[in-house]
């Protein structure tokens, strides 16, 4: 076994050097933006703009979607190359995930797998060039976890689908270019066979977007009022939306794996080393050390589960229950860390510090405990998926869909 994150062959080493040099040049001037985020309550337009520009520059080289075919605007490189790009960009504390996550992990892979050649040629190149912000809009007021119980209707009318309905708790504080959504294309049809997948230009008449102020920051409600969507935007074919959902939600549910370091631990140690109580650093306090021990173990197990999932994706052998297990475990670790940080810091744990990486911010840590118990499904849905994949109480085990 080999747990080193270095996968580098001589060819890959050369590529890593190329990427490092390129980033050193193109990240210049972003120093004051590093280690902040965009998902949560931080709304830093300058940072958002920088990320978008960076994406465009990466896109020009095909590096935003390095493994995609050159004809669609990718670079035709291997997963090894993508891994190098992801880890090297992460070193700057400005991961593109928060801006392009939906696109890179969910939308583009699904278009590549389920789109017609025409759709690929039209939809993919602007994504690859980093020109688009796309929101995934699935959750509806009457249900989040039960995705198949979709009430937003898209009824075929000639060359168009007429969309009516409402989605909630989606996106972030700046407007999208496209909406990636599941709709009910046949209200009379059987469950799972009545759904379609639409890639909707966000500027079509009849679309209204309203901010929602939530625990984890700004999300939105999206209203569709007789929106006429050209039929060419249906991905995956008539009434085939559930199949599209199934294969890519595996990625949403952790099946993609993760190799990023968690900056919270390092910052907590620094805080304990420099904070004194009663003439002694917190780091000398046995109770604090015991909290740190448990926190470190949780973060290490989480890191290793993510690494395992990444490996399974890397060798194209999906782990049967690993995706949902990782997400479930991560939710519970966040909740435990939320309390641990409060126990160690006291009141200070409730005050945000915008100068550090969002994941290392104690107030964010506290808030994300209860705040991330859902998002991409609830923790109970996670456990349900694990149970099915384990075949509990069933004669056979449900397989993990191949991730795209």
């Amino acid at each position: 076994m080999d747990f080193s994150l270095q996968l580098d062959t001589p060819e890959i080493s050369a590529f890593r050097k190329e990427v490092r040099d390129w980033l050193a040049e193109n990240m210049r001037g972003s120093e004051h933006l590093r280690w902040s985020g965009i998902w949560s309550t931080r709304e830093n337009d300058e940072e958002y703009k920088f990320r978008r520009q960076l994406a465009t520059k990466l896109g020009k080289r095909g590096w935003l979607f390095p493994t995609y075919p050159v004809k669609y605007g990718g670079a035709g490189l291997s997963l090894d190359h993508q891994f190098v790009l992801e880890t090297e960009i992460d070193r700057y504390g400005l991961p593109l995930g928060s801006v392009f996550y939906t696109l890179a992990r969910l939308v583009a892979p699904a278009v590549l797998k389920f789109g017609t050649e025409e759709q690929k040629m039209e939809f993919l190149p602007p994504m690859m060039r980093g020109e688009l912000a796309v929101w995934q809009v699935l959750t509806e007021p009457q249900g989040g976890s039960d995705v198949a119980n979709c009430q937003t209707k898209a009824i075929r009318d000639g060359d168009h689908y007429v969309v009516n309905g409402q989605k909630v708790m989606v996106g972030h504080h700046l407007p999208p270019d496209f909406l990636w959504t599941i709709v009910c294309t046949n209200p009379a049809g059987k469950r799972h066979e009545n759904l379609g997948w639409l890639y909707i230009p966000a500027n079509l008449p009849g679309i209204t977007i309203q901010h929602m102020h939530l625990m984890m920051g700004i999300k939105n409600a999206v209203f569709f009022d007789n929106v006429r969507v050209p039929a060419k935007y249906l991905v995956g074919g008539e009434n085939n939306g559930w199949k599209v959902a199934n294969s890519y939600l595996e990625l949403e549910h952790g099946g993609g794996g993760s190799v990023a370091e968690n900056p919270l631990f390092k910052r907590l140690i620094e805080h304990c080393q420099k904070t004194e109580f009663d003439g002694e650093s917190l780091m000398e306090d046995q109770d604090v050390r015991d909290e740190i021990a448990d926190l470190l173990i949780d973060l290490d197990v989480q890191r290793l589960m993510g690494l395992r999932n990444f490996w399974h994706r890397y060798v194209r052998d999906p782990h049967p229950y690993g995706g949902a297990q990782f997400i479930y475990f991560q939710r519970m670790v966040r909740l435990r860390n939320s309390e641990r940080v409060q126990r160690i810091l006291g009141y200070d744990a409730l005050v945000p510090d915008g100068s550090v990486h969002e994941v290392a911010d104690f107030e964010y840590t506290v808030r994300s405990g209860p705040g991330w118990l859902h998002g991409g499904g609830t923790l109970d849905t996670d456990r349900l998926i694990i149970a099915r994949r384990l075949g509990l109480g069933r004669p056979s085990q449900e397989n993990a869909p191949t991730t795209v």
Binding site: M1, L307, Y314, Q325
Partner: protein, 374 residues
């Protein structure tokens, strides 16, 4: 990065799995545990013949020069049994202590005998039922005109009944820890089995036992060095045990029908299985990463403590969650879960509790300013 076993390791895993299935199927192991039989000389000899005792030792001492991960793969399968006996305590821990601190003569005479299964050397380190670490060593070593004597009582010594000799940790007159080799049959040595909710432990008394000057092995540093290589093997044993519990519990949810349906259709029952999966996989990957670090020569002191803490808790908690699923039938000593449950409690205490090792992990990463000396 490569997270799978290599071909040799996969083969070793299969050989070990087949061995356990043939030699010690669940109903046989359950019977041993119920009767508190913790040592089976014939079976022990067979494992020596396959080459599993002292397999990490260099070939010149009768070992196979195996990597930690190779050895761990075998012990993971033994843990699935769980196979009772001094495979770890003599075949791994004692072997590593002697390799780390023994004189050339001690290594040459003792190590090949450990590999052949003819010498069963059992470490008797802590005197105390609660503590672990150098502070737990109280047995006194005294200098006499003729040489040395040692006196003290090790309250819980795992696998003691099988011993042909002990590595006894003593406290010298100058206050340091000194390891002494003591023959089981030496005058003044007595072994008293302990019965309780555990297996394989005995109280070992040393009453004015004479020690010749050439029977010392080294100090606490030797124990630490040996533990760094040995503990991950014990961790792998516990990972295998968790795997077995996981599979048997999941299977039960398919076959046990209550209220007209298999119990695995109830979400509260499912939750117990999910919890076992998390303990199992946490234990597995923490252990594997530790093994990889050791085999790659990367500093792993904190990882070893972490793995010991995580696997002991995982084994213990997996048993508890499994008990929630098996309910009444799982508490019958004739049920395979009971063997695990008894062993999980024993191994929770063996060589330091999870709390001890969590603290040692943090101490290894962030040493205290003024280390408290015991």
């Amino acid at each position: 990065m490569d997270l799978k076993l290599n071909d040799d390791q996969s083969m070793m895993k299969k050989v070990a799995a087949d061995f356990v299935k043939t030699e010690a199927p669940p109903y046989v192991i359950t019977d041993w545990f119920q009767k508190k039989i913790a040592f089976l000389p014939e079976l022990f000899k067979k494992t020596a013949e396959v080459g599993w005792l002292g397999m990490m030792l260099p070939e010149e001492y009768g070992g196979a020069g195996a990597a930690c991960t190779d050895c761990a793969v075998v012990f993971e399968e033994l843990g699935r049994g769980p196979l009772p006996g001094p495979y770890f305590s003599s075949g791994v821990l004692a072997a590593e202590i002697i390799l780390a601190g023994g004189s050339p003569a001690q290594k040459k005479t003792l190590l090949p005998e450990i590999c052949r299964g003819r010498a069963i050397v059992i470490p008797a380190i802590s005197d105390d039922p609660i503590q672990w670490g150098p502070r737990s060593v109280q047995t006194r070593l005294s200098k006499t005109t003729a040489g040395f004597t040692l006196t003290g009582t090790k309250r819980f010594v795992y696998d003691a009944e099988a011993a042909t000799s002990f590595i006894c940790a003593t406290r010298s007159e100058s206050g340091g820890v000194v390891l002494a080799l003591v023959e089981r049959n030496a005058p003044g040595v007595s072994v008293k089995p302990i019965s309780g909710f555990m297996i394989g432990a005995a109280e070992v008394r040393f009453d004015n036992v004479a020690i010749a000057a050439d029977n010392f092995i080294g100090d606490w540093v030797v124990v630490e060095r040996a533990l760094t290589k040995a503990l991950p093997i014990l961790c792998a044993f516990k990972v295998g045990a968790c795997q077995e519990i996981f599979e048997m519990t999941n299977e039960y949810t398919r076959t046990r029908v209550v209220f007209g349906q298999p119990i695995g259709r109830f979400q509260r029952v499912q939750d117990h299985c999910v919890d076992i999966s998390i303990h199992l996989d946490g234990a597995r990957w923490i252990t594997y990463e530790t093994l990889w670090k050791i085999d790659s020569g990367i500093e792993a002191a904190a990882n070893v403590h972490q793995a010991k803490a995580v696997t002991s808790e995982a084994y213990y908690q997996s048993c508890n969650f499994s008990h929630m699923v098996f309910a009444g039938p799982g508490t019958d000593y004739k049920h395979p879960l009971m063997a695990h449950s008894v062993l999980a409690h024993t191994l929770y205490q063996y060589l330091g509790t999870p709390l001890y090792h969590k603290r040692a992990m943090v101490d290894a990463l962030y040493p205290r300013k003024a280390e408290k000396v015991g």
